[in-house]
Amino acid sequence: MRGRAEFDAFYDATSRRVLHQMYAMTGNLADARECTQEAYGRAWRRWSAVSQTASPEAWVRTTAWLAAAGRWRPTTWRVRRREEPEPGSSQSDLIAVLRQLPAAQRRVVVLRYLAGLDVDEIALETGTPVGTVEARLAGAKAALAPVIADDTVPAGGRRE
């Protein structure tokens, strides 16, 4: 079994990143924090197995996603709509659009553009055919394009 020191090092190295990704996936900081911490707790319970997977971070991210989806313990993660803006968010427009996306689209767009996975890796992590991943990415990008249109101005332009 891998020991506590290794788990702690893994936690320290990855937890902020997973929290960031879960925030983008859920659009809610409190939810992201809760399901991220829950996922690391589950990872520790199964650390000997999780530590030997190809990507323990992917395992934690998937588990956190499932926690958010209410799959693991539905009673502790009641699905709710999140229509209120995230207090203090500097990216409220982005958060608002992300919340409007279907959850599956939100997940793949975060995995692609924040976690940096390619389409094949997303397909593997989400258990979804490549074509479906591509379709979801296209749908998400179409919905997000108006919000980030200003950011596409080349360097030296209005916002960059």
């Binding site: 090092a9 929290l19 319970r45 199964r46």
Partner: protein, 485 residues
């Protein structure tokens, strides 16, 4: 444009990090405490009869090293053995085999084997030598963990139940923080490697199952690695108020050699599945050193805790397979914890009725999953037992009414039909939302209400599947039949 859009999207998503500036995660220690609390309340304990049989067999061996072990395992009691119904009559026994039970007179003590003379009649010491390069090295231990492992003086491990290094053996040891790794390769006399492995395994088992601070957690047979291999997990001293020491042993033999890897350290919990990597690496290294090809295609079969099997009154693995849930291979132990770490209600927002508040005397839970796939496909069944049939019926009818009437924004909930049979009646639902699909049902039989829950995800091979209403009704129907015994 598309590339610019991609770049901009990446930048904007990365910019969400600014919102996390004041957000602190509770930390790794809090995650471990959270896990420990969950497990402490999930594990009901109890030593299965099969393991105690092993311990008894071990004690008959009389290995001198056993004198260093803690008290022997207590004898098994019938009361600790759950009522199990074999899945199939032809199942192989899963009791951890003490066999080949070495005859005490035939098992050479690790340190005295060379005194026994020549077993092949050739005269002199016929024991092999450990070839150079047979031991794992620092890079093997460190792997991609990122931990700062360092070499340590070989042998004399502080990990509980790790035996001394026999005189003819070679060993390598490593340490980091409160963790330690020991690898021992021991040559045996011709024809005795199997017996030596059995003796070593028995010795470790007897110690790890010794009671007190010692607790044997899991034993796995590992086929396809060398000639024979096992994984054992246990906990033991040193312990603190919050932690204990967990050890995983990878014991294997190949040709005339026995390889033993012990990896362990301080921890708060263990509820995972030991991996084969250490055993595979050790056998690969050993076989490379002696110049032979060895199998390294591991397949794990759990010996202890003995799989619960099918339990009377609960859905069976065959029931689940009948409706296509073939990824689910094992039902767990039944838990009746109803505190904050147990199940205090039916566990789904679409079944908004509290059985305990409605008078249930107990709420039992059983989870079905594949132990080799943590986080994989799973199903939950609960049974609420009421003091009488009338109270159970009142609760069931209120539950069905509440479930039929439940709604929340974004969810599409459908009543997918009723089931009935001799002495039982039930109802099924399907809830779809952006997060996925849940299928669930509730059934009344006598003084008991049982609930079945499943979240549809994908098979382990990534292929999608569904549990359509007729299949869910069939599953609930089977639950009603099982409930009747």
């Amino acid at each position: 444009m598309n590339s610019r859009l991609d770049d901009a999207l990446s930048r904007r998503l990365a910019g969400l990090d600014a919102d996390l500036a004041g957000v602190a995660l509770p930390g790794a220690a809090a995650a471990r405490r959270r896990a420990a609390q969950r497990t402490r309340h999930q594990v009901t304990g109890g030593v299965l009869a099969g393991v105690a049989v092993i311990a008894a067999g071990v004690l008959a061996i009389g290995d001198p090293e056993l004198t260093a072990t803690p008290e022997p395992a207590p004898p098994a009691t019938d009361a600790e053995t759950p009522t199990t119904v074999p899945t199939t009559p032809t199942d192989e026994p899963t009791t951890p085999p003490a066999d080949p039970s070495p005859d005490p007179s035939q098992v050479s003590s690790p340190d005295t084997g060379t005194d026994d003379g020549d077993t092949d009649g050739g005269g002199g010491d016929s024991r092999l030598d450990v070839p150079p390069g047979a031991l794992l090295d620092l890079a093997d231990v460190t792997g991609d963990s990122g931990a700062d492992w360092a070499e340590a003086p070989p042998g004399d491990s502080w990990l509980p139940c790790v035996p001394p290094v026999p005189s003819a053996a070679k060993a390598a040891s490593f340490a980091v923080g409160n963790s330690r790794f020991d690898h021992i390769v021991e040559p045996t006399e011709p024809g005795t490697a199997a017996d030596r492995l059995a003796a070593l395994r028995a010795q470790v088992t007897a110690c790890a199952d010794g009671g007190g601070d010692y607790d044997l957690i899991q034993v796995w047979e590992l086929s396809g690695v060398g000639d024979e291999a096992y994984l054992l997990v246990w906990s033991g001293p040193p312990t603190t108020q919050e932690t204990t020491t967990y050890v995983t042993a990878s014991l294997a033999r190949s040709g005339g050699y026995v390889s033993a890897v012990f990896r362990g350290g301080e921890g708060q919990d263990y509820n995972g599945v030991p991996g084969p990597d250490d055993a595979v690496r050790a056998i690969e290294r050993l076989c490379g050193a002696i110049g032979t090809d060895c199998p390294v295609t591991p397949e794990q079969n759990r010996l202890y805790p003995e799989p619960e099997g099918d339990l009377e009154g609960w859905l069976t693995i065959d029931d689940l397979a009948e409706i296509g849930l073939t990824d689910i291979t094992e039902g767990g132990e039944v838990s009746d914890n109803t505190d904050e770490y147990g199940w205090t209600d039916y566990g789904h927002v679409g079944l908004p009725r509290d059985p305990l508040a409605d008078g249930a005397e107990s709420l039992e839970h059983r989870n079905y999953a594949d132990p080799m796939e943590p986080g994989g496909s799973a199903l939950d069944q609960l049974r609420a037992r009421f003091p009488d049939a009338d109270t159970a019926r009142a609760h069931y009818e209120a539950l069905v009414t509440a479930a039929d009437g439940f709604t929340q924004p974004g969810d599409v909930i459908e009543n997918t039909g009723a089931v009935s049979g001799d002495g039982y009646e039930g109802m099924t639902w399907r809830a779809e939302s952006e997060y996925g699909v849940f299928v669930y049902g509730a059934l009344l039989r006598g003084d008991t209400v049982t609930v079945v829950l499943h979240s549809i995800a994908s098979h382990s091979d990534g292929q999608p599947y569904d549990v359509p209403p007729e299949q869910m009704r069939r599953l609930l129907d089977l639950a009603g039949q099982r409930l009747g015994g």
